[in-house]
Structure formats: C-alpha cells, structure tokens
C-alpha cells in the first residue's frame, strides 16, 4: 500500500492546499469556510477558521515563498489572506465576475494568480503597489463555457485553461509592470495580455484538470469521456495524444516527473500514466489497489449490489453513497477524488509524495516508494 496517511477532516472536501513546509493544511469542508489544521503530536488540530466568503469555497492555493493564501468562492469574490501576527488577515479582490469562481492558482513567481470562473472568463490578478490593491484583469470572449481548471507554465507568462466546452487553451498573461520582457523564454513573452497561443479541440465533452509538466514541455488534461490528453511541443505545431481508459472519468492530474502522471477522479483510486522511451503515453496501474485489475471485474454483481442498495435506500431512506465499487477495489477514498497536490521536498525535482482529497471528506497522503519502476 502506498497510502501513508489518511485523515477524515469533514463530510466532504471541495479543495485543499498545503502550507509551504507541509505542516499545515487549508481545506474547505463544503461550505463557506476555510479550515486550517496543523499537525501536532500526530494529531491534526484546527488552528484557524477563515470566514469571509458567503458561499462554497471552490479554490484554495497557498503560495510557497510568500506564504499567502488565495481563496475563491461561488460568491464570485476572492480573498488574499496574509498572516499578520497570529491572525490571517483577508484582502478582498474584486474579480468583476457575474458567475461563480471555480478554481484559483498562484503563478510560479507568486506575483499573480489566475481564477477560472463560470462566467466564461479567466481573471489574472496582480498586486498594485501604489494603490495597495489587488487588480483583476479579465480574459474575455475566449471561452464558450465555464473554465474548470487553470495551470501556470513555469515561465510565469503562459496559462493553460480547460473548459466545459471541451477545449484546452493556452494564453499569454503578460502584464506590463509586473512581468519583464527579458524573461527566459523570449518568444512567449512577446505576446500581449490575453492573446491565445493555442486551442486544443481534442475532447468532445467537458474538460478538467489541466497541468504542465515540470519543464513546461508537456501539457496534460482530462475529458469527461474517460480520456486523458497529453500534448507535447505546445506551440504552433503541437503533438497530441489521446489515451482512453476503461474506467470512470478523471477530475484532476499531477505530473510527478516529465514522464509520469497521476490521475484521480470518479473511480476513487489514483491511476498512473507513463510515457515510454518513444514518448507514447499509456495507463500503467492503479495505486494502492489490493486486487489486480487484469481479471475482468464482475459487473453483474455490481449491478445486483446497486439494486440491493436501491431497495434498501427506498426502505430506510438512508444514503450511504455509492462506495461499493471502490471498496471492492480496496481503494482508500470512498467517493470521487477531485483534488491532487504534490508534496515536494525542497531541492528534489521529482515528486515522491502527493495528497488527494475528495467528496468523501478524506485527505490521503500517498508515497510512491516501492514504485521505482515508474521512474526508470
């Protein structure tokens, strides 16, 4: 088993984020609050409750060097939280949205953050020193539907987004006065703010969970049709690969190295995808599974189980979530996993540990020890 720690924090977790030293976790227990827990003597202790939002918090990101937390919510607002003394002090960021904010991420240099929203727009927010104010700049009229996920390229300029119109897009987010022209990748910083670099039409259904590889050469995202997409050479002539798999769709992905991706989603168990020497991606295995996936699963028994559950539910009116499937698999999560984050050791390029949270209210820490074959 490669799950090293499991903790039930709430009934349901919409998203979570780690403090820079991984000693604290911020999570939203499916309401308008953000709870911060600290590990002390092998126990998680709630140390802060961030109350400012009016509706469900849909995105949290904790910046690793500046120690700021950004939260976004269905109430269409965003707050940047700063630790002053022992209190987290919020600063309102007016996103100028007319629909819910859905996801947020700090840029690598932590001078900007991106917010995806249901208003078919992406907000790029940056701090204006002279006004002591966070400004939100919108990328409008580029998406035909809600923006489900955002991911920053390591160069701090390019931003990838996925949307429920099925597309994955890459934008330039160059902001005068915040970004400098002479950054490492001169070619990509020539473009203006909001200019679309690339649009990928690989999926015909909702797209989720976009991520860049550590070098920024490869892009991965998932479709709601049980497909995962890998795009190499992001630019004028991208090389795309579609990988179909036999299980339920994914919600989020994580690159643990250039050639290994972990996907999590409705199957309640992390899946490993890897590229071989020739760069062809394929599904490798599940993580932490007790049974081997090769034997054909008994769908008949699942159906009868579902029927049994249906009848017991109608009798007793209880709802004990569709978990039989994952229990059969020996999975640790009992419901859809919708968030996966790396737990990076400082100075180590490869991610060996990561955490997942999901609709079952658990946060699980996984270790890729004894999975050395993945990194060869």
């Amino acid at each position: 088993m490669s799950a090293v720690a499991v903790h039930q924090f709430a009934q349901c977790i919409t998203c979570h984020a780690w403090s820079p030293d991984h000693s604290m976790i911020a999570l939203c227990p499916n309401n308008s609050e953000v709870h911060i827990y600290r590990m002390s003597e092998d126990k998680w202790e709630r140390v802060h409750v961030l109350q400012k939002h009016d509706q469900i918090v849909s995105g949290i990101d904790w910046s690793s060097t500046s120690n700021k937390i950004v939260t976004v919510s269905h109430d269409r607002n965003s707050y940047v939280w700063n630790l002053e003394g022992s209190d987290w002090v919020p600063t309102l960021v007016i996103l100028r949205l007319n629909r819910a904010a859905l996801c947020a991420q700090w840029s690598p240099q932590e001078n900007k953050f991106a917010v995806g929203s249901g208003a078919k727009t992406v907000c790029i927010c940056y701090y204006e020193q002279e006004n002591n104010w966070w400004v939100s700049k919108l990328v409008r009229k580029r998406h035909n539907s809600s923006v489900t996920s955002v991911a920053w390229h390591p160069n701090n300029i390019l931003l990838a987004t996925t949307s429920t119109d099925g597309k994955c897009r890459v934008f330039s987010t160059f902001i005068k006065g915040v970004d400098t022209r002479d950054s490492k990748t001169s070619s990509s910083s020539d473009t203006k703010f909001g200019e679309q670099i690339l649009q990928l039409d690989l999926s015909y259904s909702w797209a989720f969970g976009v991520k860049w590889s550590p070098s920024g050469n490869t892009l991965a995202y998932v479709g709601h049709n049980s497909m995962i997409y890998f795009v190499d050479d992001v630019g004028p002539s991208p090389l795309a690969q579609n990988v179909a798999f036999r299980d339920l769709p994914l919600r989020d992905v994580l690159f643990v190295s250039e050639k290994v991706v972990i996907g999590v989603g409705f199957d309640c168990i992390p899946m490993v995808f890897a590229a071989d020497e020739s760069g062809i991606w394929s599904f490798v295995r599940f993580i932490g599974e007790t049974k081997t996936p090769s034997s054909a699963p008994k769908y008949g028994s699942q159906f009868s189980e579902a029927f049994g559950k249906f009848y017991s539910q109608s009798k007793y009116g209880v709802n004990n979530d569709g978990t039989e499937n994952s229990r059969q698999r020996g999975g640790i999560h009992q419901n859809c996993i919708n968030c996966i984050l790396p737990l990076k050791e400082p100075g180590v390029s490869m991610v060996r540990r990561f955490s997942t949270s999901g609709l079952d209210g658990k946060v699980v820490i996984w270790d890729l020890e004894n999975q050395d074959d993945l990194f060869q």
Partner: protein
C-alpha cells in the same frame, strides 16, 4: 478536427452512400460464407460519425444492424475483435437500444454485457459523453 467535417457537401454524402452500398454487398457475401465476425468488422470500418448527414448515418446503421443481428458466438466475436472497434461498437449498441425493437434490443443488451466486461465503464462514458460524433 471537428470543424473540418462539419458540413458535408452533397456529392460527398453521395460518395459515402455508395461506399456504404459497397460495404453492404461485401457483408452479405461474408455472411453467406458464415463469417459474421468479419462482417461486423467490415460494417464498423469507415463508419461516418463525423458527418452531419442523417442519411449516411442511417444507411450505415442498417448495415451494422444486419451484421450485429447475425452474431451468434460472442466468444468468437470478442476474441477476434480488436479493442479499437470497442468504442464505435458501443455507439451502435446504444443506437440499437434506442430503436425499442425487441429482438434488436435483446441482441444489443447481450453484446453490451460482454463488451462492458471487456472495455470497461469508460467505453460507455465515451459513448454517452460524445454528442458530436454520433452514429
């Protein structure tokens, strides 16, 4: 990718129809030779999910339906059907189920059970989630 085939010119549709007619004759001869699995493969090959032309889709469905109904030995079917056909076959099974015709539905459900064992729930998801490339 999707944009290219968005609209089918009349002569393009005619070309597809004549290809399907050709396929139909080939399937009949394969069925006469007692090779139902080959006939299903032939029927699924070159299916026109990208066109918007309902005539093409219906014509191909008739051909695929003919081949599906001729399948008797499911083990033989799945031992020789390559995984690349699974997704398109699943789409046609759902088209079959949507007809409501009793014998068709019976046959489609039987194949559906075996196909789900083979191809997993992901195959069903791909069928249901794809509203663009319908068969």
């Amino acid at each position: 990718m999707a944009g290219v085939d968005d609209f089918v010119e009349a002569d393009n549709a005619e070309a597809i129809i004549s290809r399907i007619e050709h396929k139909s004759r080939k399937i009949e001869s394969l069925l006469k030779q007692g090779r139902p699995v080959e006939s299903l493969k032939t029927a699924l090959e070159g299916s026109p999910p990208n066109t918007r032309d309902e005539r093409c889709k219906s014509a191909n469905w008739i051909v695929v339906h003919r081949a599906i109904m001729a399948i008797k030995d499911f083990d033989a079917l799945f031992s020789s059907l390559d995984p690349e056909y699974y997704d398109i076959l699943m789409k046609y099974l759902y088209r079959g189920l949507s007809t409501g015709d009793r014998p068709t539905c019976d046959q489609c459900l039987r194949i559906h059970e075996r196909l789900t064992e083979r191809a997993g729930l992901g195959c069903i998801l791909r069928t249901l989630a794809d509203t663009v490339n319908t068969v």
